[in-house]
């Protein structure tokens, strides 16, 4: 990480005129103006329409049953679980940026950590929706929680799905706390700048009486550090546990020990891709170019390149192990990914996840917002296909050829997927509009004004 911290963008800020007031003003104004930019309205309109589609899909699903989707024997899981793993993966970058980079004193994270955390929360919400929807009887998933009940039922703790409940649940809780706690000083700033009583009351309530005293700051810093330390293992654990759904099963293509690190790398990869996909338009439309600088984007591009290579390595290693294990079923499962009926999804994944990030070897590409944005989008597509390849392709051809099948998604599958993006972007746009998008308090610690004497530590 030394290489990254060496190029701390705030040591040599691109524009030397960032001072405390300007940072506050820049960030707070977004929430204070009467009318957000037109782009926000367009985006919000599209997102809420998609959210409406999500609502319709879910209502129809509850009415009719899983049969409205393409799920079939033997691809029992299909889109909903692909979407679940996809969203959980997206939800990784936030905590990684907030916690791990915080502990590693990667100060550049301050520019992006708030909305990366927000993204995490919303992605985890999207993710958490799917396991609930995909069960055959969606009114009963609470049976997976260890709630004492008169039916004498208790969860079955040997099941990786049960582990998921706790892994994702813990992650969501800690991420939410971390996000909210980090936001308290900024919410107080919003409260203080409020001109309407309603805003003052609401922001005031959520600011929890923050006055900015040094004692409060002291407690705040301690708690933040503790939460960061608590969240760090979760970044690694949650996707490792999600990968156990597959790794501990018997299905060829799932049953591999490489999955936990591979899933974590993939999650960070996909998470950062989503951060840049969101950051590029956000800094454009909300005038945050001075805070989320091109240097930040370049650093994230480097992480995307690095994690993309890890993911590419995992793809290769899966083939090697399949061959090395000598298992006929395992070998076939991997070959079937590459040249079977679903080969198109495999090569879409390889193109998006392995080939596309290679452009980041070039500095000019790393500093081109358009390139970064499109690579981010492609990597997100690629990461979705990665989960499709693992879940659908492996399932479609397992041990006994007589039970093989071919999964064909229905319109409702796509509607639910698109709808989940609607949910995500609606929440995200509301966040952009009403909450501090950048951690003002943290950024201020690193702007040149805070280091007038030139010492930066």
């Amino acid at each position: 990480m030394a290489a990254i911290s060496d190029v701390n963008p705030f040591v040599q800020p691109p524009k030397g005129d960032n001072d405390f007031a300007r940072v506050t003003d820049n960030v707070s104004r977004i929430a204070e103006v009467n009318r957000p930019p037109r782009a926000w309205y367009i985006a919000f309109g599209i997102s809420t329409s998609l959210l409406g589609l999500f609502g319709i899909s879910v209502a129809y699903l509850f009415w009719e049953g899983i049969g409205i989707w393409g799920n079939m024997n033997p691809s029992y899981w299909g889109f909903p679980i692909v979407n679940f793993v996809f969203w959980v993966g997206i939800g990784h970058a936030g905590t990684l940026i907030s916690a791990i980079l915080y502990l590693m004193r990667q100060t550049w994270r301050t520019a992006i950590n708030r909305f990366a955390e927000a993204m995490t929360i919303f992605a985890v919400i999207c993710a958490a929706v799917f396991p609930g929807l995909h069960v055959g009887r969606p009114w009963l998933p609470y049976w997976m929680f260890p709630i004492p009940n008169q039916m004498q039922m208790w969860p079955q703790f040997r099941s990786p799905l049960e582990w998921d409940v706790f892994a994702v649940g813990t992650y969501a809780t800690v991420s939410l706390l971390f996000w909210y706690m980090g936001m308290i000083p900024d919410l107080a700033t919003f409260r203080d700048r409020s001109t309407s009583p309603l805003r003052r009351a609401l922001y005031g309530a959520f600011a929890m009486g923050w006055r900015g005293s040094s004692r409060q700051w002291h407690r705040y810093e301690r708690a933040y550090l503790l939460l960061a330390a608590l969240a760090t293992p979760l970044v690694l654990s949650v996707h490792s546990v999600v990968s156990f759904d597959f790794a501990t099963s018997q299905m060829p293509g799932w049953h591999t020990t490489i999955f936990p690190p591979y899933f974590v790398a993939g999650a960070i990869f996909g998470g950062f891709a989503m951060v840049v996909t969101l950051a590029v338009p956000a800094r454009q439309f909300f005038g945050l170019k001075r805070i989320i600088t091109i240097n930040h984007l370049e650093l994230m591009s480097k992480i995307i390149l690095a994690t993309g290579m890890m993911v590419g390595y995992a793809y290769g290693m899966e083939f090697f192990i399949a061959w090395y294990s000598g298992s006929a079923y395992e070998g076939f499962a991997l070959l079937n990914r590459a040249v079977g009926p679903f080969a198109w999804s495999y090569w879409a994944m390889i193109f998006c996840n392995v080939v596309t990030p290679q452009v980041f070897w070039f500095k000019s590409m790393r500093r081109n917002v358009w390139v970064i944005f499109f690579v981010g989008v492609l990597v997100n597509i690629g990461m979705w296909f990665e989960r499709f390849v693992i879940i659908v392709t492996s399932g479609s051809r397992d041990f006994l050829p007589a039970s093989w099948g071919y999964f064909i998604p229905t319109a409702w599958d796509f509607a639910t997927l698109a709808g989940s993006f609607g949910l995500f972007f609606t929440l995200f746009l509301l966040f952009c509009r009403y909450l501090p998008m950048v951690a003002m308090a943290e950024v201020k610690a690193f702007v040149p004004a805070a280091h007038a004497s030139g010492d930066h530590h």
């Binding site: 024997n73 995909h134 069960v135 099963s249 018997q250 009926p341 050829p401 007589a402």
Partner: protein, 1029 residues
Amino acid sequence: MSSLKPDANKKLPVVTSPPAEHSAPTYWKSLAELEGRPEFVARARAERVEDEVESPSSPERRQFMQIMSAGAALAAAAGCRWQEDHMLPMSRTPEGRVAGETRRFATACDIGGTTVGVHAISYDGRPIKLEGNPSHPSNRGALGLLHQAQVLELYDPDRSRSPQLDGQPKTWVDFDAFARGHFEALKASGGGAFAVIASASSSPSRAALRARLTELLPQATWVEWEPGLGEGSRLGTQLAYGAALLPHYDFAKADVVVSLDADPLDDLYPSGLANARAFAARRDPDQPMSRVYAIESAYTQLGSQADHHQPLRAELIRAFAVALDAEVSAAVGASGAQPKPTSAALNDPKIAKLLTALAKDLAAAKGRSLVVAGEHQPPEVHALVCRLNAILDNVGKTVSYTEHPNKDAPARVAQLEALTAKLGSAVSTVLVLGANPVYTAPQDLGFAAAYAKVQTRIHVGTYHDETGKASGWHLPEAHWLETWGDVRAADGTLSIQQPLIEALFGGRSQIEVLASLLGETHTRGLDIVKHTHRERLADPRKFRRTVHDGLIDDQLPRVSPELKALDPIALGERDNAPLDAQNGQLELVLAADSKVYDGRFGNSSWLQELPEQNGKLAWGNAAVMSPATAAALGLTDGQEVTLTIGGQSARTHAMIVPGTARGSVRLTLGYGRTRAGRVGGHDEQRVEPVGISGYALQSSKSPYFAGGLQVSAGAGTIELSASQDVHTMDQLGREGTQSRLGMIVREGTVEKYKKEPDFAKHAVHHPPLLSLWNDPVVYDGHKWGMTIDLNKCIGCSACITACQAENNIPSVGAKNLARGREMLWLRVDRYFKGDPDNPEVAYQPLPCMQCENAPCEQVCPVGATMHSSEGLNDMVYNRCIGTRYCANNCPYKVRRFNYLNYNLDVQAVTPYHGFRDEDARIKAMVFNPEVSIRARGVIEKCTFCVQRIQNVKIKAKNAKRSIKDGDIRTACQETCPTQAIEFGDLNDSGAKVAQLAHSPRSYGLLEELNNRPRVRYLARVKNPNPELG
């Protein structure tokens, strides 16, 4: 459904008065006895009428009738009670009856004249499941899939519900009034203007009534119309012996079996189920094994177990038979052989070699060999087969003959043709009895048009079908489970059919209709049957005994006929054709479907949804051809094709099935129905026909196969609704399948087996299978297990339908099936091995393996699937939330998920609206109350018929005895014609299943995964001719 008037014809449930000595019981033993008094009878009548006014065809309580038949199973138990012969509502529980306890009643089922003995399982007056009668010689306890599906037909709400005249509802009173006058006039004129078209039946009562009809109307015509069954052997024996004979085979004694396009193991072949059992018994490698050769146009059940299989077009079988005759005659030194033909196909080196080896093998097994030919083959082939069996000294040993019941009649199609010519002119009244000629007559007869010209058209049938629609009078025929009747098996065994339930829709049986038309004194089913057998079964106790046992031994005498010299068989151009046929010269094979037969079972969703034996196609038919034929025609699987033959065209889809003969295109009959019902297709209900009708391409000259077929490719390609090989036919999938076949279906030869009996255990190499934990379950009580002998399975799929009937498995319909949402708990996997044009085929029935170290149990987050102390993977439906993780982790993929509410909303094509509508309530009567109906969103799977296990355990516990081996039989095991499936307690070392599980041939499928499956397969062992190596 027609009128709200009470049906005056329907017999009221009158309780017979007790005999004189019981007439005034001072002390009554039961309420039923007390209520036998006249005032009760009057009250019952009043109630009955009132009830019918409310709801004429409501299936509710009053029609949950129970059988109190004379001498049925409980006759002995209730010996001191008078004989009752009427249906009573179950609202009054008879003495000795425990509500909710099933009872078995013997009866018999006749489909197309082929009879099997049946035990009907009745639950509180509803027959819900059929099993074979173990003492009946034609099936020995087994049933075929058509028999298993009969209960579904019984409760089919689409069955005809009232007499109709020109589409207007009428009553039986109206019909009787019409018939009385009409038939008096016919009788007066000698009956020349009257004709009957009747489906084949083995009923002695119907035969007696037919004789009576000939007496009363001497000039009347009687045509037996059974389009699904060929008559090759009847006409062939006429050629060979000068008399129509019925051959009976003894596969138990046959060391060498040669089948020429024949399937003598089929459930509709005379004694087919008994043949299957005897055949399979000879496939045990621990005993002297038979050697089987099959030369056939498509894989049959027998062919699937053949040691040598040669695909050959049906039209080339004749030349092959001639050549075989020449070779065998030379080998055994018999005179009078046909000259050896010089057909192009026979010059093929493989076939020539096969012929030589075959002749040698047959000659070496004189008196211990058997040659059979398919019924659709021409009479000459059968005459040659008779000759071959005679010169091989097999007659009286492996084959014997009895007189054929239809001895002198010309071929059925010729009879129908002759009648068609007279329709509308000489014949002005036609009675159609159970047949559907408007749909099933070969198109070139123009039957439908001729029939329309007939003045009086009367149709008797269970459905208001195509013929019913084309008729003036339509009369609902009662289902055989609703009526008294009598049937005779191929070997002469007589069975009395007893009603299991009051006719749901008030129909009459064929014999009742005939008797009333003829003005007989006995017009009720029971009276007719008693009258027919008045000499044989005069003693009421004997009659009761016969009804109770389900049969009376009545073997027909075997005849030893004298072989006639055969005329030389002229082989034409088509007989001499080469193995490959050009487009335009292809062969079209039109065979009765294994599921819907000639079309009559087209409204059965169980049968429609059953994947057919070889192509695994459900819900429809297709132009089936071999990969080579498809390649030559440039067709892909599912591509639209137009079949043109004899100026007729039909559009369907191509289906590539390896093992089909080159140049042969096979289309099964019985599809494309427009008046089957809401499942099979109905024009008025706007339900599209399932599949296309093969009859539209059929010619009366050669109904079952014909040359000169032109296939033209269409543009579209569909996804065939097959249960297997959907999208898997790419190169990788084929190679992947072939490479693992040796591990899945383990196979060897007798020679290999003798040298290395446990070869199957070494087919897969794996590290030692260890577990981190000690086994949590010790199985100190029972330890249920199953073995499936792959050397016995002939792929008939009766087990699937039996499982569906036993376990209330819903049908999902064509669309859902094509999407891979099949619900069948038991599937029969079919694998082809080797050369795609002459592959070997293997079937593998696959129930839940009930693994001891079950992958499904470990991954369920809510503990909905748990291990029982007896080793079952219990599925707790109520606890299941439907994550489907268990199904993913099951390496056998035997778990089924209710993607939709199949039992309530979907149920094939018929939409259900809960149990709210009347149709749904009728359909629900078929459910087995001991098995939960699964709702949407839960996983289900094979339970080893846990309800049967529990029932036996409870009974054994109450009787304070232990469970004997064979007490518990799963539904699949009980119906299996070849006894390939064994079930029992693995802890009982004497149990058959325990012995088989320890057989050197046994192996666990995918046991290298350390699942420890409880179902063990016995490897296939073949007995090839070393000369054909």
